[in-house]
Amino acid sequence: MVIGGSIRERVARPSNRAMAWFLGLGALLSVSLAHALWFGLDGADPGHGVELVRELGLSDLALFTEARYTRHLSLADSHAAFQDHPLALDHFPTASLAAPPEHLRNPHVAGD
């Protein structure tokens, strides 16, 4: 180890600066992780949303409100005239974002 040398010299040494740079970035990363633990889903309760879902028996997120089959993704239909599900000849933009619901991709009951 190089011991001694003025503080200015030590600060000027590139590897020390790099160390400071990565320590800084690492500290920020730890802050982000701590933030995620603190304010994230793991720690916090999911809020009133759960209450509302239980009360009303909701089945879907109001994420894509533009079309019936994207508003209630999980209730989307199998192939029928004038009715589609996400990815079935995309018409609305969001239909190209989400995947068709599980029960259409993997019907659990034959003939469904």
Partner: protein, 336 residues
């Protein structure tokens, strides 16, 4: 379909990149085995010597990727368990098709082979005349097919993930009533398992202490390390796991990796794997201690490996002991 998940994409690309990197390395290994001659000053030998820099860096890089890929693979299997009916943890995901377990086994095998190679490489670089070059590339030739097989099996595993399959999870695979290796291990009486677990631990720690004290016995220590690894895995399935879950019949080696158990599994597996790999390295250093140009280096490297390996083993067994001690589960028939 499942292939388009980022982690799967990363693993597949990593396997592809490593396989490709080992292709020129394998060809080069063949040339080394046939033509390497340290005493020659020919153009060919000079070319070979220059290429060793590239190849050894390339292989070291590829193996470093493999080591991390093993961790990512397990983590990913754990994360995918929400997407399959019946899967509660990584066991269920690995059971989705016939390629899951072979992939994991190959990955573990490659992990140890790669770790051995990396330590051999490190040792070889210490010698003035690179005395282990032939041996090193011979070993590389043996590892390369494993890596290619692993890439193929892993790709098949990911491609054949069919969410319709109702998979069976740890409850049925690791149960004393089932059949197969997993069930055999799970069916081991906790008492025997505990004896094996701590017996293996005492053996390897004793051998390590002997080696540190007397300065000899690196090879027995490496063998002890392998033994400890096997008995430790058996012990986790048939005995430590019970205490972690506080449930007398839950034998899963993967559920301890879950957040619900504080990711304690990583604290167990990572030191165990690292210590075993280091023990293998210590063994190879002991094996080469008579090579003239390596005499000092081998002793030094061996000592370093053993010290680190001992830290890993002590950590592992201490944590295992603590997990048993703090548990609310009492299996009376284990202790008396």
């Amino acid at each position: 379909m499942a292939i388009l998940n980022p982690a799967i994409l990363a693993l597949t690309l990593a396997a592809l990149a490593v396989s490709l990197a080992l292709l020129p390395a394998a060809v080069f290994s063949l040339r080394v085995l046939r033509q390497w001659d340290m005493d020659s000053g020919s153009e060919r030998q000079l070319g070979l010597e220059r290429s060793t820099y590239l190849i050894s860096t390339l292989v070291a890089f590829a193996f470093a990727v493999e080591l991390i890929a093993l961790l990512l693979f397990i983590y990913n299997a754990e994360a995918l368990s929400t997407q399959f009916v019946g899967a509660m943890c990584a066991t269920g995901v690995l059971n989705v098709n016939g390629y899951g377990w072979p992939t994991l086994l190959l990955k573990v095998l490659i992990f140890f082979a790669a770790a051995l190679w990396l330590q051999l490489n490190r040792l070889d670089n210490r010698g003035e005349d690179y005395p282990l070059t032939r041996r090193k590339y011979g070993l590389l030739l043996a590892i390369a097919p494993l890596v290619w097989a692993e890439a193929a099996v892993q790709t098949l595993f990911f491609l054949n993930m069919n969410p319709e399959v109702i998979t069976s999870c740890c409850g049925s695979l690791f149960s004393a009533e089932g059949s197969g290796v997993a069930a055999e291990i799970a069916g081991l009486a906790p008492r025997e398992a505990a004896l094996l677990f701590f017996g293996g631990g005492l053996t390897v720690l004793g051998l390590g202490a002997w080696r540190l004290w007397r300065g000899r016995g690196g090879i027995p220590f490496a063998l002890g390390g392998i033994g400890a690894f096997v008995t430790a895995l058996m012990g986790i399935v048939s005995f430590v796991a019970l205490y972690v879950y506080e449930h007398p019949h839950h034998h899963c080696p993967f559920c301890i990796l879950k957040a619900g158990h504080g990711f304690i599994g990583y604290g167990l597996y990572i030191p165990l794997f690292a210590a075993t790999a280091l023990a293998l390295g210590a063994g190879s250093a002991a094996l080469h201690r008579h090579v003239p140009s390596l005499r000092a280096a081998a002793a030094l490297e061996g000592l370093r490996s053993i010290r680190l390996a001992m830290i890993g083993f002590v950590w592992f067994y201490a944590l295992g002991l603590w997990l048993v001690a703090r548990s609310n589960l009492t299996l009376t028939e284990v202790w008396w």
